[in-house]
Point group: C2
Chain length 413, copies 2
């Protein structure tokens, strides 16, 4: 179907806040097989809200409206919609009940303002009113309109949990239910993934597979639509199983997981500790690991040996190794990994040394050449990669790859 | 004036690319005193481009259109505009000449496709056609319309260099010229800045000052509009001088400068080297410094002493200092800074140790407490801050503050 997205809020039109919810909705709708014709962002202006909605309704098969649903005086969406669609605001006692239950510990003033959320345009159905998430749905002149909160995480959750399946229902008997899963992938490019698993929809229109490079990783989405529960269960299990079998260890997690979080959990589960020795990433790997609360349990620390002298002094890399093989070499990487493991006493020592650019490349070792080593109780393994991109992209790709080497090692890969 | 922004491109409506150009334009227009009523994003669809433009023109005083101006077959903006406004595409030989000059080293095929850029709707004026930047301007039924490229850095440059001043001209005799400057500020909050310098426009409507918290820093923008060159020169110099006098060392650079870049330049100028010892920032400061190409000249490296044991082993912090004062204390920070300076041989040693949270706080040292020390040839100074925010915000604020302490030291502050 063809849809339009309308985002409402003065904070968006004044350029104070970057609108990321419309972008998220567009990518999800695209993955589910819909086409977004237009995305409009407007301020909290009742007249403009009304005319924009009527314009979009006129052109599109469905409309998603985000923002302006809260309980404060500058939240004008519901009133504007009631006027524009000639559907007077109606009080829904069951919604007030839900809101009261979920806000019973909130201050009196907040609870009073939340009561405004129990007034919806006539004919609206609440999508889900728990955890403070206000959202509703109505059908106007045969077209579905979804009203979602402007707060990104609430909007995204309601979109994925309720909007996509209702749109699938709308499309007819062949697609009564829809289920979606996102896989985060490291170690394969978009093209490699495509060659391995295809788009899925060639022989069965109920299954759609999309790929989104979110540098430096790739995200794969599986969307399955079917007429009933047993059918969707079977289709989804088969498609999910196929993707997992083909991509295997290249999948590092789901949409709400981070690679550093997955690595931390694995380290915790194995009861192992980690230290890192970084050159070209300059501390990025250590920082990524310490973004995770509680990482002090398994992360001892790191050494950013940016100069060759520090590689020798702090990590015990021998000057002859550097002179003979170069600072960017499997040999130096090995000495760095073993060195950081030795000086910190950690179970695992990861090292990275490379040429981030823009200068410093050579025919043998062009810009983007990065060597890694992972030293463990069982010995040390070295790796060499060539990454594309500018200085920061090489650093980001090196960080992802370094963390991913730890993950694969712990997973037995 | 009231404006609208239209962004064109299938890559935007399919959710492949996040639209940041409309956001940038909105914030710049807001700072210059305009109001953006609506921002619309549509695909490369000639009919929709035409109707959207006519709708926006009907409602607004001016319209900015971005994207779809390139030379390939999916760039449809100019044709669609020519149709919608009934202004037939016209060939501009002088533009072709400019394009030919600037693309003389491009492959034959690219040069041929660029010739399409010399066809504009009748009545259009090229904004600037050097460095491959295509953009034009036309007045339709008394309202200015700006067509800018979709590539973010080209769009932003043309907006700042040509659109803002032409809009000021449009506003009438009182504002023939406009000049804008952005100051990046560390060490003061938005409220503190407001208390210090006010908004500027209370007594003189030609001067506007805006504040934008871009966590963890604050950006201040000065916009001056005046009728002639001598007037704007005088007004701008006075307002710029006042802002610089009041904010002083708190200004760390302009919109295209980064704090780590400014620190790097200062270190280079002074011929000094740097090493860092990080605990709660986990390597973020070292990474930020090494994002700058050429940082190996002044940056020796860093030690991420996340565990207390590593603070002792790698930095020589005494166990009794940690036991007596705590890992987060001025005393430990001092020992870390002196330690990293000693073991690396760098001229400057910066340390940071703090409680990023969410756990680990106490009444004496709540979450967000962060201690710094800067050790130099002249001794060591310690600092203690309390930052608000979640774990990542405390880490980001600590990184900014740590870098800023180096900058202020080198500037003699």
């Amino acid at each position: 179907m063809i849809g339009e997205i309308i985002a409402i809020g003065d904070e968006l039109t004044s350029g104070r806040i970057l609108n990321t919810t419309s972008y998220f909705a567009a990518s999800q709708l695209f993955a589910a097989g819909h086409e977004v014709a237009a995305m409009t962002t407007i301020g909290d202006d009742p007249v403009l809200i009304g005319t924009t909605l009527l314009n979009s309704l006129h052109r599109a098969d469905f409309v998603i409206v985000t923002g302006g649903l809260g309980g404060t005086s500058d939240d004008l969406t519901t009133e504007a919609v009631a006027d524009a669609l000639d559907r007077p605001s109606t009080f829904y006692p069951e919604i007030l009940e839900q809101i009261r239950t979920h806000s019973k510990n909130a201050p009196e003033q907040v609870r009073l303002s939340l009561e405004k959320l129990a007034w919806l345009p006539a004919g609206a159905h609440a999508l889900k009113y728990d955890a403070g998430m206000a959202g509703y749905f109505l059908v106007h002149e045969g077209k579905p309109i979804f009203f979602l909160p402007g707060i990104p995480h609430e909007m995204k959750q309601l979109l994925v949990e309720t909007v996509l399946s209702r749109l699938a229902v709308w499309e007819g008997e062949d697609a009564r239910l829809v289920r979606q899963r996102v896989y985060r992938v490291a170690g394969l490019s978009e093209t490699e993934i495509n060659d391995l698993i295809g788009r899925g929809g060639d022989d069965d229109k109920r299954i759609k597979i999309g790929y989104y490079p979110v540098f430096p990783e790739v995200q794969v989405s599986l969307t399955v639509a079917a007429g009933n529960e047993p059918e969707i269960d079977a289709l989804f299990a088969a498609a999910d199983g196929r993707i997992r079998r083909i991509l295997g260890l290249n999948i590092f997690g789901g949409p709400d997981e981070t690679l550093e979080g997955v690595v931390g959990q694995s380290l915790g589960r194995c009861g192992l500790s980690l230290a890192v020795a970084e050159s070209c990433t300059g501390g990025l790997i250590a920082h990524r690991i310490t973004r995770v609360a509680g990482s002090s349990v398994y992360f001892y620390g790191g050494i950013v040996a940016y100069s060759n002298l520090l590689k020798e002094q702090l990590l015990g890399v021998s000057g002859t190794t550097i002179a003979q093989f170069g600072a960017v070499s499997a040999e130096t990487a090995r000495a760095m990994a073993e060195g950081v493991r030795r000086v910190t006493g950690a179970d695992l020592g990861l090292s990275v040394t490379g040429i981030a650019g823009p200068t410093g490349g050579s025919p043998d070792k062009p810009v983007g050449t990065v060597c890694f080593a992972l030293a463990t109780n069982d010995g040390c393994r070295e790796y060499r990669f060539l990454f594309n991109g500018d200085r920061n992209q090489v650093q980001e790709a090196s960080c992802l790859t370094g963390l991913d080497l730890i993950r694969r090692h712990l997973a037995g890969g």
